[in-house]
Amino acid sequence: MILEVQEINRVVQATILPEEASLTNADAFKEEMITIIASGVKLVIVSFENVNYIDSSFLGSLVVALKYAMPRNVDIYLVSLKPDVKNLLTLIRMDKVFRIFNNYDEAMGTLH
């Protein structure tokens, strides 16, 4: 299991458990995300609080998940990115594709 999941009112908080978001767990992450999205939720907030590094394979799975989510009217937000991870997402402009927040509370604040 890659994600620790908590759902309240169709909003899922999904925390990535491994410290390395990489080739090793990218496929499992994608499958877990697709299962969550297909379950009828409206928002998945993915926390990177444990993640020390991310690679291209995991980033690809993240994009696949968003491409699966958008036609189903499901949003994916990213929260609690460590500076090194956030800087990589910014380098490849994924900060324009995903909504990124400092933490869960800030992300949840957009819902009110």
């Binding site: 390395e20 990489s22 080739l23 090793t24 590094y53 690679d55 291209s56 394979s57 980033l59 690809g60 994009v63 696949v64 968003l66 491409k67 958008m70 090194d84 800087n87 990589l88 380098l91 490849i92 402009r93 994924m94 324009k96 594709v97």
Partner: protein, 190 residues
Amino acid sequence: MSEDLNLIEIIFGNNRHEIPGTLNLCLDHILEGAGGNPVDEATLSRVKWVIIELLTNAVKHSGERETVLKIRIDAAGIVLIKEDYGRPLVLVGQDSDKKIIWPLEKIVRPVDFPIYHNGMDSLCVRTDEAGRAIFFIEQLAEMEMPALLSDTSEHFGLLIMTKASDEFSYEFEAATGLNRFVCTFKLTSR
């Protein structure tokens, strides 16, 4: 692993589980090798991202049991070199109308075309007279979601290596079957 004054050579077993340990080994040697000319945090992050992608590329694409990672450090910069005798590079164009495989036929050289893009960054390749591929980014017009997502590739490896380094290239030695990726980081450029 072997070392001289400026060159570190690490054998990587093309096993995904070895990536974190090999990454740390590389970073330790870079910090040690930099000595009195310390590498700033931003550059070290860029080097780290590229090492991860070089090792991931080896696991996914080489088809060989071993890859040699060489790291050269001097006052001018850091050079990462990945060498193996596995499958040569294959590049398919953005619109799938072009495909090149090394060794290049003379009639194919030089080539210059986009490989993929993620909205605003178009990853392109250009070959020189020797058949060496040089990767570079062309900036495209700003795009907004959701069109941006539709236009975003799910492949990021070559893009990360191109954007994170100051120069990123690939060459193939036809006589020996050696594949060589080279990433250069100028220590005074940013």
